[in-house]
């Protein structure tokens, strides 16, 4: 067992609001500097830059968990994290089938699909900044059906968060964790939200310099969703180190 530093929520240049400097190599280099062991790649409603980041991070021995930040019908952001890219692609297929609209680059930004070297492979023209037509309960169920972790994004923020959009955490929404942003401390969040689920912290970086500003340290055996799940549940000697 070892302590692993995880930033489970970062974007890449595929997200329209993500800086174009968020190239796989740029991300991996900064993550190395920040001594991050596990990165969660969570672009808005898309998983197309996963292979590039996995490849770029290999050299630094950083584990990349393939994921996505899904926008529900209520405009709530939910993170999905998996072990295998294929699971993320399956989720992507479902989300794409429920994601209306086309991107307007001038208004929302470019959505660049790249390879590990940062070379442009294509531009995604779906409205990734938009909302899917799936209710939040359905999003969580879909993620779990694919054996992923479902984490509510930045619950301390007003925009696009579970609490910001709905005003409360719906009962029976079977989340694995609630994410807080670096803007609030763990202690403050415990007081403010009395959270019914474990808390994680992540950077939600859209710019390279923000990677690692928020993170969670897990005491686990290896960087897998199964190990993280155990740490979230405080099971089998795994835990979150606050």
């Amino acid at each position: 067992m070892k302590t692993m530093k995880a930033d489970l929520h970062i974007h890449t240049c595929l997200s329209p609001c993500g800086d174009l400097g968020m190239s796989p190599r740029g991300i991996a280099e900064k993550a190395k500097i920040e001594e991050i062991d596990i990165l969660g790649i969570c672009d808005h409603n898309s998983s197309e830059n996963i292979p590039a980041l996995i490849k770029a991070a290999q050299k630094y021995e950083i584990v990349v968990l393939p994921g996505m930040e899904v926008t529900s019908q209520e405009e709530v952001h939910i993170l999905a994290l998996f072990d295998e890219p294929d699971s993320a692609y399956k989720l992507q297929e479902i989300i794409y089938a429920h994601l209306p609209g086309e991107n307007d680059e001038d208004t929302f930004g470019m959505q660049v699909v790249v390879n590990a070297e940062g070379e442009v492979l294509s531009f995604n023209n779906r409205l990734l900044i938009g909302a899917s037509t799936l209710p939040v309960e359905e999003v969580v169920k879909t993620i779990h059906a694919l054996k992923g972790l479902a984490i509510a994004s930045h619950i301390d923020r007003e925009g696009f968060s579970l609490i910001g959009q709905l005003g409360f955490i719906p009962e029976g929404l079977d989340l694995d964790a609630l994410e807080i942003s670096p803007a609030i401390s763990y202690e403050e969040a415990m007081l403010r939200f009395s959270p019914p689920y474990p808390l994680t912290c992540a950077s939600d970086a859209h710019f390279v310099e923000d990677i690692g500003k928020g993170y969670t340290s897990f005491y686990i055996k290896e960087g897998t969703t199964e190990e993280i799940k155990k740490a979230l549940m405080n099971a089998d000697g795994r835990k979150i180190i606050h």
Partner: protein, 113 residues
């Protein structure tokens, strides 16, 4: 009716894009879901919402809305103000709730399209 006239009659505080007030207000639309606003507003509509994050400016620009009224005395975030100034989108604030300000706007311009 121009946005300037609407702002005067309803006592709205103009926070950004002072030089864009001659735009004609075609109708109003009240909603807090960005996807709904993207799907259902028309050019020149005046959007009433409690949302204050910067994505509202992008949506208003995309849909060529005449402006955004932010309700309940809420203040737009700094990034939102900056972006609205850059994109020339008037942000207007009011102490009224969405219900009350929608009623006031309806009374002066009706449901016109």
């Amino acid at each position: 009716m121009t946005l300037k006239k609407v702002a005067e009659k309803l006592g709205l505080n103009v926070m950004t894009a002072q030089d864009m007030l001659e735009t004609e207000v075609t109708s109003g639309y009240t909603s807090d879901l960005l996807s709904d606003v993207m799907a259902n507003t028309k050019q020149g509509n005046l959007w009433i919402t409690l949302q204050i994050h910067q994505n509202i400016v992008a949506v208003a620009k995309l849909k060529e809305l005449s402006g955004i009224i932010i309700v309940n005395n809420r203040k737009p975030e700094g990034d939102t103000m900056k972006k609205a100034e850059e994109e020339k989108i008037p942000l207007l604030t009011t102490a009224d709730s969405a219900f009350v300000i929608s009623g006031k706007l309806y009374r002066i311009i009706g449901p016109q399209e």
